[in-house]
């Protein structure tokens, strides 16, 4: 009951954690979509040497363990690392970078599959009607829109639920880099089950909302 009260009373800490989670995951997913969708569609549409190897590599990266990625980013951006001069360790920016690297292969991999599934006749028709490469790509993105929306949502689901990488590079600093997943872990370990449950409910509600949004957007297309 205490957990529900924390949500209903708009507990400032719950609000702050939720806002930061949305901000970090939202930004990383938008950036990953901007990079992942066009490249994925390009790979899906074209035939070139080593395409299969590249697809296998992307598929492997789709299942990359977040802690391993977190460690890699940590080593890159820590003071002694090659990107240490940027001073972004233990900041939301570092968390965005980590989640971006985690989510981009997912969106890219699913975009390749989405573009490959578009009927070849659609592409040939567009070319025959005078479409250039970029026009064809735009049309394919439109044709594959439901699958691409699913790719983005899957990426967001992965980002918002991820804990290892953001914990390593963000440091789980209160009022600064604490997000839903890291907070749930911390509060559970502290025995603060009410707050942990409240944050868990928020996370679940978000997942439910995202799934609802996907079915709505896909249903609307039909």
């Amino acid at each position: 009951m205490q957990a529900i009260n924390l949500i209903i009373s708009l507990n400032p800490e719950v609000i702050d954690i939720t806002k930061l989670s949305l901000q970090v995951s939202g930004t990383s997913v938008i950036l990953a979509a901007i990079v992942g969708i066009p490249i994925g569609v390009l790979i899906g549409l074209n035939e070139f040497p080593f395409k299969r190897t590249l697809r296998n590599l992307i598929n492997t990266l789709m299942g990359l363990p977040p802690v391993v990625l977190g460690l890699f980013v940590f080593l890159m951006i820590s003071r002694a690392g090659p990107l240490g001069t940027f001073g972004i360790l233990f900041t939301p920016t570092a968390m965005i970078v980590a989640q971006f690297l985690l989510v981009t292969p997912i969106i890219m991999g699913l975009s390749i599959a989405a573009a490959s599934a578009v009927d070849r006749v659609v592409i040939d028709t567009a070319i025959s009607l005078g479409a250039r490469k970029l026009d064809t790509m735009r049309l394919v993105i439109n044709e594959a829109r439901p699958a691409l929306i699913t790719a983005v949502i899957a990426g967001f689901g992965r980002a918002i639920a991820e804990v290892g990488a953001v914990m390593i590079v963000g440091g789980d600093i209160r009022w600064n880099t604490r997000v839903l997943t890291t907070s749930i872990m911390l509060e559970t370990r502290k025995g603060q089950y009410d707050l942990a449950i409240a944050l868990g409910i928020v996370l679940l509600a978000m997942s439910f909302f995202i799934n609802f949004l996907v079915s709505y957007l896909q249903g609307r297309r039909k």
């Binding site: 025959s128 009607l129 250039r132």
Partner: protein, 241 residues
């Protein structure tokens, strides 16, 4: 000078020749039919002419110029191919028909007028805002024709345009093909395995078999006095395929 000259074109997939040393000429404003059983290379011929496939040997001259040597985009935009399986784009009927015109940066007024005219011609008036994927098979085929028609191409390549249509829809399609050829002077290459359709529409017809163009002559003559025994067998319905 012919609008289109196909000279010694060969197209292979692996070791197999899908087209084998095919040559033909098509004059401006002419409508020709390419007949032949399934797998004889008819569709591949259209794809090569439309620059969707590159020939492994031979050349295709359009207005006297090699299609792969000059301005490829300009050449490609002078011809349109309508595919046997019509796949409407995932957008409204209006946007489907307007697609090629938008690529050519035509004005909104021009596009609107052309779409309206095409819909009227194809008995589809009032369907502009309908989601194109919800059209029936016959309507989708007519939409595919409208998409090509509004571009007023010099050369229209039709791949089995009535193969999957009921008689009523096939009738509409044949009427608009004939009107397009007559009114706009569009050159048409019609791929069909329907001999009666070739008789009704084409001034000359070619017969293809196993990637080779066996013979080409005025349609009536091809049916009454074919030169090659294989053509004769096809016409008599004796060629099993």
């Amino acid at each position: 000078m012919s609008l289109l000259s196909v000279r010694g074109v060969t197209r292979r997939i692996g070791r197999r020749a899908i087209l084998n040393d095919v040559s033909l000429d098509v004059d401006r404003g002419e409508m020709i039919a390419v007949l032949g059983p399934s797998g004889s290379g008819k569709t591949t011929l259209l794809r090569v002419i439309n620059m969707l496939d590159r020939p492994d040997a031979g050349t295709v001259l359009f207005r006297g110029q090699d299609i792969w040597a000059g301005n490829e985009e300009e050449t490609r935009r002078s011809m349109v191919m309508m595919f046997q399986k019509p796949v409407p784009f995932s957008m409204s009927v209006y946007d489907n028909i307007a697609y090629g015109m938008k690529l050519r940066k035509m004005s909104k007024q021009e596009i609107s007028a052309a779409v309206e005219e095409a819909l009227k011609l194809l008995d589809m008036a009032g369907k502009e805002s309908q989601y194109a994927r919800s059209l029936s098979g016959g309507e989708a085929q007519r939409l595919a024709f409208a998409r090509a028609y509004v571009l007023k191409p010099d050369l229209l390549l039709l791949d089995e345009p009535t193969a999957n249509l009921d008689p009523a829809n096939a009738g509409i399609m044949e009427r608009v093909i004939r009107e397009t050829s007559r009114r706009l002077g569009t050159t048409v290459i019609l791929v069909t395995h329907d001999m009666y359709q070739a008789r009704r529409l084409a001034s000359r017809s070619a017969f293809m078999l196993d990637g080779e163009l066996i013979e080409m002559k005025p349609t009536a003559e091809l049916f009454s006095s074919p030169d090659d025994p294989r053509t004769a067998r096809f016409i008599k319905g004796e060629l099993i395929y």
